[in-house]
Assembly symmetry: C2
DNA sequence: TTGAAAGCGCTACCAG
DNA sequence: CTGGTAGCGCTTTCAA
């Protein structure tokens, strides 16, 4: 299996009767080389299908043309669609991506992270990537461990780092905050406009920035409309299907009264809807739902799932561009801001007439 | 951003008052070093948080402790769950993963591959990964372009390569065939047992191995039961949600008669179901469905989606283990075989009584 | 047990 | 325009 010896520049030089330097020149095409020599060398290169070792180059240039992405779980559609964009743009700029799943907080697979995130940080340093993108994980917690901060600090002292997550002071990374609660506000108001007054909030882990931001937006929206915050209508859990299922069951077991709910994301919405259905409650006729974070399948669910599109693909593009700019030392990081888009679909029902029992 | 100079072994040596060699020895812990020297060096290493350059090491050892994964599209749950397992096991064995999405055949995002797969192969060679896993892509086509074969051949001459896909002769990779049609046969027979006689087949691209294998299994199952193959009941397309939607619409527009269908995977099942629903046909009461390739959400769909679990995670584990063994020259590749598991859920309905109109 | 030195494959600088 | 040479950070002989 592949034990053929690796061709090197030296052998190309020998066979072409030129010096190593000359081969290097035609390889890089920056300095001028006599046409016929150039041609000869190129032929030999062709013949052996030679391609210079990125390792050796990296040793000199200190550039590996490789970027690291560290995220919790690529099976999560939010991350995978972001990743896809990241990789596309990286490729365009000539970079390859080293991907690490930390499985941080990964309740979905029953498997847990065996390594600290710091382990992955070190890995990136060792492999000498040109920059790192950190997408969620512990950085998204409200309270971050000191050891994590230290590790992140160390990483950012060695390499350009872009983080999607909460800003941590005194660490020299570029932080991109992906969420401002605006989407939730919009969704809430839409449900309100349809006539809903008892609106629950379902899913999301406590102590996670994104949960807290969305939850706050929900509470603020209530208060802005002069409604009370009813803790009975809030059922947190986590971000996956089973979490939505469970959270909704909890909500129901409290005998809480509600005619609609916001779900932290599509997974949770789906799971929660399933729990409702198992109790013979139908969406949207009995209960309406809008998901706060759209995945890819909403358009084809039954009922079609209303949601907020946070454009993870655009965010991905933003992240990779920011990182590459930062590597090239081009320009200042610009604050990312975009408008989450409310996508109205069947699951939020229409006003009143769907369900005459609603007041 | 991160412009701190990189500590090298030389500086550690200097500051510890020992030679580079000695530092190298304590780093690798293989040769013996005087205890007090060792301690001193270790302290300095600690102090600077020094970690040796994987690049420089790679240049000598010819090992990068990095593996490549080339797959079409990580947003596809089948690939992402496989990838997750691959990465977990790679990590355990000390490897990092370079991930490339070729977007081969990627109808889902409206974006197409801008690079040939051969481009990614070359990338892997340049980056000197220790081995490559190729998961689907052009290798899954019935007819593979000559240029692709050449590229794959070249790759496999340089590195250990494990391919999940159809065996191509005279190429020195390890090929793992993931599909034998057994799952489809089982699913078909189950539908038959429930009383269905007009069973359609929906989704999957023609010219793709997996489609053909499943389609053949379907046809064989029909014939084994003495039923005719009715081409009107076969509606191929692709593997995504919109493809299922479209394929089902095509099927219906033909006025084809059927009481159940097999979908090439969960995406297609979902899309097709949505198309049925849009015509006021309900699953499973009007039409039953089993998906031939389970994703992660089936348990929470409405109705819960019956499917065949092909255990992509186990396959992933298999692939990575095979590759690592091959790198270490340990043992022969073993033929992978496992039993796809029929997961019976609501969408296939129960026998007869659900729908009395069925004969 | 230790240090000096060669060299991995390549780039970059220098002199010619 | 070209070849020789130093050296990137590390491992690995080889002597001492």
């Amino acid at each position: 299996m592949g034990e053929k010896e690796h061709i090197t520049i030296t052998q190309i030089a020998k066979e072409s009767n030129v010096s190593i330097s000359t081969v290097s020149r035609v390889l890089n095409g920056n300095a001028s080389v006599a046409p016929e020599k150039k041609k000869r060398v190129e032929e030999i290169i062709q013949k052996y299908n030679f391609s210079p070792s990125a390792i050796a180059r990296g040793l000199i240039s200190k550039k590996t043309k490789t970027l690291g992405v560290i995220l919790p779980d690529i099976t999560n559609p939010y991350f995978s669609s972001m990743f896809l964009e990241i990789e596309r743009f990286a490729l365009e700029a000539g970079y390859t991506i080293l991907l690490c799943n930390t499985l941080f907080g990964g309740s979905s697979h029953g498997i847990r992270n065996t390594k600290e995130e710091a382990y992955y940080f070190q890995m990136m340093i060792d492999k000498q990537v040109d920059g790192v993108m950190i997408i969620g994980g512990q950085v998204d917690l409200i309270t971050v461990e000191e050891s994590y901060k230290q590790a992140l600090k160390r990483l950012s002292e060695q390499l350009p780092v872009v983080v999607i997550g909460r800003k941590i002071d005194e660490i020299d990374c570029i932080f991109i905050q992906q969420e401002n609660g605006l989407g939730v506000t919009t969704a809430f108001n839409y449900l309100y406009m349809l006539g809903h007054r008892e609106i629950a909030f379902v899913g999301g882990q406590t102590n996670v920035t994104i949960t807290e931001i969305r939850l706050n937006a929900y509470k603020n929206a209530l208060q802005a409309l002069g409604l009370e915050v009813d803790e009975q209508l809030i059922s947190l859990s986590d971000y996956y299907l089973e979490d939505g299922y469970q959270a909704m069951n909890n909500l129901m077991s409290r005998k809480a009264k509600f005619t609609a709910f916001l779900a932290i994301n599509d997974n949770v919405a789906l799971g929660a809807q399933r729990a409702l259905y198992d109790q013979n409650l139908k969406v949207p006729d009995d209960i309406a739902v809008i998901s706060c974070d759209q995945f890819l399948t909403g358009e084809y669910q039954i009922p079609r799932l209303a949601s907020i599109n946070h454009h993870p693909d655009i965010l991905g593009r933003w992240v990779i561009n920011t990182l590459i700019n930062s590597i090239h030392g081009t320009g200042e990081p610009i604050q990312f801001s975009f408008t989450p888009e409310l996508v109205i679909r069947e699951s939020c029902g229409s006003a009143i007439n769907h369900n005459p029992m609603r007041k």
